[in-house]
Point group: C2
Chain length 474, copies 2
């Protein structure tokens, strides 16, 4: 078999066309592939899913606004007309830099040029045990799991006879006040206060408390201060409790303990010496969602490369792996400094621009043209939405909030969705939700086993360790 593999590699190297392998069909990988559509290269793209996911709208799947198929598009469909590209469904297990081969379960793929764009997943900063009680939002399965968790909490609250348990079930804690956390909190608040109002008989969904925890002194810390303030106001208008300067110190199936985020932060704002024992507070909650941190895919390990704190590969100014001009690392997997010495954020625009830059560089190498040997990111703006009719937007000096920012947010997101059909479907869902306060995707599907507490679907939501033996008020 060994011989066969080597023979396969040899055959590949004998091909007259440059063999480009792209790992990951996210924003970064796809934009590189598309920009190479007319180049004289053979491309193979490897992804562990058969679809490209439009992650900026994933929170809407988690909060029953959209269906998975509306924000995901089969990679094969997207690339079916690009005849220089093959799609391989598979999980990468390693990279052999010497042989120039990517190891996939069940086989190996030879490359002349490699583009690593495997993205990031959530990180629990030293508390991996929290993953089971505080799920994060990175994949379609995460989103439908969170949707199930939220909807089952309301169902259980309707059933239980214990006022304490009811309160716990109607408390929703979101840890992390970046765009994902803000969008989740706003969407859950709307679900409770606008969508579900008439649906229950024993509970009033208005009683739900939605609590957003952020360690920085303000939500959306990467946005201008004024917009953080607008976002906080809009969230509070929806009934979200915004708790800034706080971190979770404990997460369990019954709730979280939060404390002041750090003595360092506290001393920056207050000159008084804080006691080492921070004041803590316990919030009882059955639903805790994690939106506080990401970690890069294990590509640094595969590449045996230097990584930053969250596992991103430190690349050169031209996005290549130091010492390996044939290997590019882009998107959320790469740690790239901007002009002022700050790391670029893990956003779709950064990923897309990097993909296009790398494709340009590969084409320049093929035709032996010269081009700028460093990537530079052009920031056009930032957007985050809070709820129906409210968003914040920043375009350099132009800062918007409220309805106009929201319309802009909607337009940008629909435009960037891949596929005409998805655009129409998402628009239709949004218009429907806007005018009726209805949500089309309120399905509890799949089987929940994560924490051993949630019953498999189809099993009554009233079965509950804390109130076992209790008779339902029916």
């Amino acid at each position: 078999m060994r011989e066969r593999l080597i023979a396969a590699s040899r055959r590949a190297t004998e091909s007259p066309r440059l063999q480009v392998v792209v790992l990951g069909a996210g924003f970064a990988g796809l934009s590189a592939i598309k920009a190479l559509a007319r180049a004289a290269v053979d491309i193979k793209v490897v992804d562990r899913h058969n679809y490209h996911l439009f992650q900026p709208l994933l929170y809407q799947v988690a909060t029953a606004g959209l269906s998975p198929a509306e924000i995901a598009m089969p990679i094969r469909s997207i690339l079916s007309v690009q005849r220089n590209t093959k799609v391989l469904l598979g999980r990468v297990t390693g990279i052999d830099l010497r042989r120039r081969e990517v190891e996939i379960e069940g086989g190996r793929v030879y490359y002349d040029t490699l583009i690593v764009a495997t993205g990031a997943s959530h990180a629990y900063v030293g508390h991996n045990e929290w993953e089971s009680v505080a799920p994060a939002l990175k994949t379609i399965e995460d989103a439908t799991g969170i949707r199930r968790k939220i909807l089952i909490a309301f169902e259980r609250a309707e059933m239980t006879q214990s006022p304490d348990e009811r309160r716990r079930l109607l408390n929703f804690v979101i840890i992390g006040g970046g765009p994902t956390g803000v969008e989740l909190a706003g969407a859950i608040a709307e679900l409770a206060r606008k969508v579900l109002t008439a649906d229950f008989r024993n509970i009033d969904p208005h009683d739900a408390r939605i609590i957003l925890i952020e360690s920085n002194p303000r939500v959306l810390p990467n946005f201008p201060e004024k917009l953080s303030y607008s976002a906080k106001q809009a969230l509070e208008g929806l009934g979200v409790e915004v708790r800034v300067g706080k971190v979770a110190t404990t997460c369990d199936v019954d709730g979280v303990v939060i404390a002041d985020s750090s003595c360092k932060v506290a001393s920056e704002t207050a000159p008084v010496l804080k006691p080492r024992l921070a004041i803590t507070e316990r919030i009882e909650a059955r639903t805790i969602l994690w939106a506080a941190g990401v970690a890069a895919s294990p590509s640094a390990k595969w590449l045996n490369a230097q990584a930053d704190r969250v596992g991103r590969v430190i690349v050169g100014p031209d996005l290549t792996l130091p010492g390996h001009p044939e290997v590019f690392v882009i998107g959320d997997t790469a740690a790239v400094l901007d002009k002022v010495g700050k790391f670029l954020p893990g956003t779709a625009p950064v990923a897309k621009q990097q993909g296009r830059y790398v494709a340009q560089l590969i084409r320049a190498r093929l035709s032996e043209r010269r081009m700028p040997a460093h990537f530079s990111y052009r920031h056009h703006g930032s957007l985050a939405t809070i709820g129906r009719g409210t968003a914040v937007a920043e375009f350099g000096r132009l800062q918007l909030s409220g309805r106009i920012a929201w319309l802009l947010w909607g337009a940008v997101h629909v435009l960037f969705l891949i596929g005409f059909r998805n655009r129409i479907a998402v628009l239709l869902d949004w218009l429907w939700a806007y005018f009726t306060f209805g949500r089309g995707s309120r399905l509890i599907t799949g089987t929940a086993v994560e924490d051993g507490r949630e019953p498999p679907i189809g099993v009554t939501a009233a079965v509950d360790g804390a109130v076992a033996g209790e008779s339902m008020r029916l």
Copy 2:
């Protein structure tokens, strides 16, 4: 606790309004509930899912045409305006006829009048071990599981280097030639021959073989003979191999063995005595789908009632349980004879008419009016679709096939879908698919563990027991 339960029951009996409990929010249960909207009754509906499922279109979810949310609607939304009705999410575990209580995991519900409409699930007629290799189509989870199975088969075929394995992966066997089997076979044939054509580089999806097995001498045995013939022609036009008069005698992960369906059938058509050992044939296939039989929910056991061969409760002409005028059994759970002494089929029109009849009877009892003491089903017609542009329809003497039957089929199904939004969404998807041959929901999601062979999602489709150690042709 015992005391509390009894107290709860007493309180309920003291209520001045009739306590109606409905088990199941399918077509039968929902139509009964809606017809009781203005009656002076308190209704509680118990369902193990939080949504009503439009089962006639479930095969389109399984074949990537529609999204789950398009054919499912939250029960709470449907009934939110009906203030005399409470929705309970829960699984029924038993019925106490003496106390008039339904046992649900975690509690009990008292009733004055009970409507059992818990439907049916698939049955493997003595071969329960086939369930893991030949999944059937009854729930949303079944549908997304089958969708994953079909799509992964093409992905694996693209990856494998073994011609035998590739052939096995591209063989799809559907057991059962009723409407579900016919619709599945047609939709898979279209997926292979129209939708996926341009998406692969190593395989030609046209090479897929779709084989439909039916034990009767013709497909759609409940339809007029002429329409069975039209359906067979249409299926063969799409490239489906139709094998009638055959039954599966073995199902395993590598394929099926089929044999002549029975000596009895054979001797009816041919006067020659058949040898006892039927001629068998093995079809190698990685995807086997079961559309051959249903069994009623365990309600006969709960009610300690007489049941027919497939577990349906034998009810009186007024759909009550013999000896229990306060208990109705309707829909797929009930065995009801029609005028000519044949059992009514398990279809949506039968279920809906039974639900309305029972509601009428309950209202008549309340006002002490008299009404016909027997349910009679009015047959309006039957419809089945084969593929894009072809269907068969029967309305008494009017028998249609081809495009006009298909348009009718589409119109009827969209009209009967619950919810304006769902109608628009499904129409949009169908128009899209019709004009572009695209399918919007080609997502491989969830985790497949049923047969231990299918890798969890995100794992390469190339890992395969039969070809382990093989290197991919990449």
